[in-house]
């Protein structure tokens, strides 16, 4: 794995958008969102076909954030692309807002499925992919999973089924930041050999530095990775990426009562990233 390039201005901007959300709401899954930003940025900037003015356009690619707790990164991208007014970000988790602590497809334009309970996104995405193939659509399905989420048996039930159907219109992307809520994935439930697991379930697998925008772009624009298999992309990431003091720091997995000095510290750290 090569050394991750420094974060560019767009990656810093998206992180600052999330800081502004934290400043208002004083809470959020910071670490989980920051490890995701480059993955979602590349998907929405370079890979997915969609129309923010017509979020349900039948020809769109479906993107499901199965690790729903990373929603701050998704909200930042969806607002950036114009799915909803950026002012909604100021009402994160507010009673009169549409943006909750987990994404709700019934409320948020651009959210394909309500997630938050882990292990749901891949089965749903699989159902969509089966339908799209049956319907002769060229639309593709991308499901973004967390590493801790891959503890769920339903992920592997779906993986087995996707492998059986040789669904080339389905791509599973794992944000492998090596940390879950309690401790490291190695300590809680080791996923290794992770790539081999996906391979053995019938996926063509690639691994990439999940913060290297150029590498992500090159890999994700190349799906499917094989002519007769679903694709799995394991993105090696850093939890809390871009904020030195939050990186791999479990206190920032989910942060409550974010203070003004912490907001300042976050913004300063992002500038230095």
């Amino acid at each position: 794995m090569t050394t991750t390039p420094r974060l560019d201005e767009r990656s810093k901007h998206l992180r600052r958008v999330i800081v502004r959300v934290l400043q208002k709401a004083r809470r959020g899954h910071v670490g989980a969102a920051y490890s995701l930003i480059e993955i979602l940025r590349v998907l929405y900037d370079d890979v997915l076909r969609y129309n923010p003015q017509d979020p349900r356009w039948p020809g769109r690619d479906r993107c499901i954030l199965s690790k729903g707790h990373g929603c701050l990164a998704l909200y930042a991208l969806l607002a950036d692309k114009g799915f909803f007014p950026a002012a909604e970000l100021d009402k994160f988790c507010a009673a009169d807002g549409i943006l909750g602590g987990h994404p709700d497809a019934g409320k948020v334009p651009g959210v394909e499925a309500s997630t938050g309970a882990l292990g749901h996104g891949l089965p749903i995405g699989l159902g969509m992919a089966l339908h799209l193939r049956l319907a002769g659509s060229g639309a593709r399905v991308f499901v973004v999973l967390g590493d801790g989420e891959c503890n769920e048996g339903s992920v592997w039930e779906a993986a087995m089924c996707a492998g059986k159907h040789r669904l080339t219109n389905l791509t599973a992307i794992v944000d492998y930041n090596k940390h879950q809520s309690y401790a490291s994935t190695k300590e809680v439930q080791d996923l290794e050999p992770f790539a081999d697991k996906w391979r053995s379930f019938g996926f063509e697998v690639r691994e990439v530095d999940g913060h290297d925008v150029a590498a992500l772009r090159q890999t994700l624009t190349g799906v499917p990775f094989a002519a007769d298999k679903p694709a799995a992309l394991i993105c090696h990431t850093v939890k809390g990426k871009g904020v030195r003091f939050a990186e791999n720091n479990m206190k920032w997995h989910h942060k409550n009562k974010v203070t003004d000095p912490e907001v300042e510290a976050l913004l300063t750290a992002i500038e230095d990233a």
């Binding site: 749901h120 699989l126 159902g127 049956l134 319907a135 048996g153």
Partner: protein
């Protein structure tokens, strides 16, 4: 009933391109004609109920009407969160065909007995719960199942149950079916509790007691209009079902009666499986009899309630 239900899925699939069938790991040859004639919309995806419900939801979000079939316990308990989140929260058109609701799988023991399925399905927002009493009613229900908005839990009985609903007209989801008139006792029931309740009403008639039987092939939404009208006329009310007494039709009826003050001056009794895992094997009828879901017991309980009415000289302990 199951055969007729699945045959209807095939018929519906021939008429409507939206219709898809998903099974888990069903018996050899199930829906073989469907598989042969419409293979693209026939899926048999293994013993993985959590995945199956998610897949069904994903297809339904895209506009399909998905009929998903496996054993009731595994379609309710095993994947409850998927049913709640993927189906009910998204309010999608997936029909859960739940084989062997109640104690149909008596010989197989408590792992295969779905005695609380109606309760847990009833608790989910957007979920419709139906339990036809016989194959004829199942066929009529299936005809109207395609265009009903939102998820449906379909409780399938053992099969070859006596057909008692042949004259009840088209199935209307959410409507109760008055099966027998009578002004002293009201028996509310669902599923194959209907046949038992009709037999109980016969017994009561022999004893000179007129019992109405109100059948709820749809448990949710509950037809409270029909319940209200029948309850007003009755002196005592008994609810009989092949289900735990906690949370099923009896609970739904009790909740409504209590909240509308219809229990004032009327005695009420739930008949069903008590708060236990059934402790015997044998067969469905045997377990039902053991726990009092029988014509004799329903009639006896009704008589006891009648004897214990306020104003009656003799009170009999329930």
């Amino acid at each position: 009933m199951r055969e007729n239900c699945l045959k209807m899925v095939y018929e519906l699939a021939k008429q409507d391109e939206r219709v898809v069938f998903i099974g888990s790991d069903l018996g050899v040859g199930v829906l073989s004609e469907f598989k042969k004639e419409i293979p693209a919309r026939f899926f048999m995806e293994g013993v993985s109920e959590q995945n199956l419900v998610g897949v069904a939801a994903g297809m339904a979000m895209e506009g399909r009407v998905v009929y998903l079939n496996t054993i009731a316990t595994f379609l309710s308990r095993r994947c409850y969160e998927q049913v709640a989140v993927d189906l009910c929260l998204h309010n999608v058109n997936v029909r859960l065909i739940a084989n062997g609701g109640g104690v149909v799988y008596a010989p197989l023991g408590p792992t295969h007995l779905a005695i609380e399925d109606v309760a847990i399905m009833r608790a989910l927002p957007n979920m419709t719960v139906v339990a036809p009493a016989d194959a004829a009613e199942m066929v009529r229900f299936m005809k109207v199942s395609v265009d009903h908005p939102g998820p449906i839990y379909i409780r399938v009985a053992k099969g070859h149950d006596p057909v008692v609903t042949s004259d009840t007209g088209p199935f209307v989801i959410g409507k109760a079916v008055p099966m027998r008139a009578g002004d002293e006792v009201l028996i509310t029931t669902t599923g194959v509790g209907l046949q038992v309740s009709l037999a109980a009403a016969e017994k009561l008639a022999t004893a000179g007691v007129e019992a109405a039987v109100l059948h709820f092939p749809t448990v949710k939404p509950l037809d409270t209009d029909a319940l209200h009208a029948h309850a007003e006329r009755a002196a005592v009310i008994v609810s009989a079902e092949e289900h735990t007494v906690i949370g099923g039709l009896g609970s739904a009826v009790a909740e409504y009666l209590a909240e509308t003050d219809l229990l004032n001056g009327r005695r009420f009794k739930r008949i069903g499986i008590p708060d236990v895992f059934p402790s015997i094997y044998g067969d469905q009828n045997g377990i039902m009899r053991k726990y009092g879901i029988s014509a004799d017991n329903i009639a006896a309980q009704a008589q006891t309630l009648l004897a214990g009415r306020p104003g009656k000289a003799v009170r009999v302990a329930a």
